[in-house]
């Protein structure tokens, strides 16, 4: 089956006072119905990759490479083409549901607008469809909610509304960028549960972006780990969580806070800081924080290469 999304050699630079290399030669594919998890720290380029792919970057950014959505090149496509795709075939859910919703419009209006714009449906029909969708994302008292404003909903409810909005046109792909990060732990688990159910109900492909491997691990079929704008490892979720091959992935896994086992007084943490995108290193970008780095790592950047069932960019991958 052809991929829903195929990104090849995507590179994004921000041209401000200094040249900032946000994304470097990223290639990935998403198959229909698949959930791809993208993991990385702030500044790793995980969001920028998809903002770039969707044409949502500021003017100071330059993107090169190829982004094919349902077989069609969309990188640098005209705005009219992108506007048709975004919101209908391809939707996005952002981290902060409050700032993604328009504060002065009722929930019903914001939801219905999607169908009026993309499907040419009447407002009346659209509102009915919006109501059904709110029920499907399990928003209680959906009728009353349609008449409410964003500030009258809790954070979890707002995120459900965003998800409903994203699903209204039955997209082929939904990109969820840190959809649970701004929410309480209690609500996070519910939103992950909801996404899991919706995946099976709609057969939508998902890209789930998060800094937290625990969130991505609960949902993704495949996981791609990014560091300093590059893909450093990708593998089936099960393999990657059980046997990470890149030291960075292993360190991230070690940092996932855990409630099992005796309470430790020191939390596991990854030493050092994420790298500065304005000053790319000659060798492996992770070397300064890597417990296994040797001279070769600092001198020469390891290419991303196949290793067993996955891919890894490391001179000395961990044993499987």
């Amino acid at each position: 089956m052809p991929e829903v999304l195929r990104i090849e050699q995507l590179t994004i630079d921000f041209l401000s006072a200094e040249r900032i290399a946000a994304v470097r030669e990223v290639s990935l594919q998403v198959s229909p119905g698949e959930c791809l998890g993208i993991v990385g720290e702030s500044g790793s380029g995980k969001s920028q990759t998809f903002m770039g792919a969707l044409g949502l970057l500021p003017r100071s950014a330059r993107a090169t490479g190829s982004v094919r959505f349902e077989g069609r090149e969309i990188l640098d496509a005209p705005r009219a083409v992108l506007n048709k795709i975004r919101g209908s075939r391809l939707s996005m859910v952002f981290q902060d549901p409050m700032s993604s919703l328009t504060p002065h419009l009722r929930i019903g209006t914001q939801l219905a607008e999607v169908l009026v714009c993309h499907r040419g449906m009447s407002w009346r029909e659209s509102e009915l469809a919006a109501l059904r969708m709110l029920d499907r994302v399990r928003v209680p008292e959906s009728k009353r909610r349609l008449r409410q404003y964003p500030h009258q909903l809790s954070g979890g409810m707002r995120q459900r509304v965003m998800i409903a909005m994203g699903l209204l046109c039955e997209p082929a792909l939904m990109i969820a960028d840190e959809p649970t990060t701004a929410l309480d732990v209690t609500v996070q688990a519910q939103i992950i549960d909801l996404l899991r159910t919706l995946r099976h109900e709609y057969g939508t492909a998902f890209v789930l972006i998060s800094h937290d491997l625990a969130v991505v691990g609960g949902l993704a079929d495949r996981i791609l780990v990014m560091y300093a704008g590059r893909v450093v490892e990708s593998a089936a979720a099960r393999d990657l969580l059980r046997r990470p091959r890149h030291p960075y992935t292993a360190e991230l896994l070690r940092c996932v806070p855990d409630l099992s086992g005796p309470p430790l007084e020191r939390m596991p943490s990854l030493p050092g800081q994420p790298p500065d995108a304005a000053q790319p290193a000659a060798g492996c970008e992770f070397a300064p924080r890597c417990p296994f780095a040797v001279e070769l790592c600092r001198a020469q950047r390891p290419p991303l290469r196949r290793l067993g069932p996955g891919e890894v960019a490391c001179h000395f991958p961990l044993p499987s």
Binding site: S154, V185, T186, A189, D193, A214, P257, L259, R266, M267
Partner: protein, 309 residues
């Protein structure tokens, strides 16, 4: 046990007609970390701010070394503030973007230690920057030149400049990457051990609270529902809400509905009633009082005894 540093009694906060905190009472001892846990809108941050008189309080007492802070005049309160410091959630917005890290750390000294020579002041700043792991070269840089984790180190350094007795940490790691959270939690842990400060550590993340706290206080919609020593709370939580939070932290969705929006009126009777799997008719009567169910373990639930057996 010695006399607590901080005694909070029946603390209440109202914003207009909305009751944000009601009847919160607890003690905090020197050198102790009390974890404060609850969902968004539960009143965690309001409690932190009320203790430091950063929001108006509608009732109760905050006794600091036996003196009621709520009755202090501005001058006396200012003197107490040297000992009472706070670290905020958002590391970038809590630092002045037009001041260098050095200037940010100098400010508390220029207010409270005016006799200090410029040279000594610089030495103190350098030492603190080293202590929080930034290095003294950081003094000349501006907040936007630092990562989120580094900005939080500056926030912590600023709070530590005057050698406080109590450090209130309001979700200090919630906006940081998981990989960096551990660094900051460990820094706070080390500072506490080295300086013997008391800490009120607020977080919605139980896994983080578990690392740091000696005791944990759980609040829900402004009411205290459980308080217990760390190991008791994590091994044998009693209140249905605490149990739900723990389950959620291990990835199980809390079965009952989500936390209500803050403008939804608090139900009569037990505040947790509408989300509780164990509710009975009697729970509609009134908010249950906190009762001791074990050593240092208090629970506000009518069915606490049943739930324990």
């Amino acid at each position: 046990m010695s006399e607590p540093l901080l005694k909070v009694r029946d603390l209440g906060v109202r914003f207009g007609a909305t009751t944000v905190l009601k009847d919160v009472s607890f003690d905090l001892f020197a050198g102790e970390t009390l974890g404060l846990v609850g969902e968004s809108g539960s009143g965690k941050s309001t409690l932190a701010r009320a203790l430091l008189r950063l929001v108006p309080v509608s009732g109760g007492e905050v006794l600091w070394r036996g003196r009621n802070l709520l009755g202090c005049d501005a001058a006396e309160m200012r003197n107490h503030r040297r000992e009472l410091q706070i670290v905020f959630q958002d590391p970038l917005s809590s630092l002045n973007p037009r001041m260098t890290a050095g200037q940010i750390l100098a400010e508390p000294l220029s207010i409270f230690e005016r006799a200090l020579s410029l040279r000594d002041r610089q030495l103190r700043i350098d030492a603190m920057l080293e202590r929080v792991g930034l290095g003294k070269a950081a003094a000349r840089r501006y907040p936007h030149e630092f990562s989120g984790g580094q900005c939080q180190r500056i926030g912590i350094a600023r709070a530590m400049m005057l050698n406080p007795t109590l450090l209130v940490c309001d979700e200090p790691v919630s906006s940081l990457d998981v990989s960096i959270q551990g660094q900051i939690v460990n820094l706070l842990f080390d500072l506490q051990r080295d300086f013997g400060i008391a800490m009120l550590f607020i977080s919605h993340n139980l896994a983080v609270v578990r690392h740091l706290s000696h005791r944990v206080l759980v609040i829900y919609r402004g009411r205290q529902v459980e308080i217990a020593p760390r190991d008791t709370l994590f091994a044998a939580p009693v209140h249905p809400y605490t149990r739900g939070l723990l389950a959620a932290a291990s990835g199980v969705a809390l079965s009952a509905a989500e936390p209500p929006a803050t403008d939804v009126p608090v139900p009569s009777g037990c505040v947790f009633r509408d989300r509780c799997a164990y509710r009975q008719d009697a729970c509609a009567a009134a908010q249950p009082n906190l009762e001791a169910v074990g050593p240092e373990h208090l629970v506000a639930c009518r069915r606490a005894r049943d739930l324990m057996s």
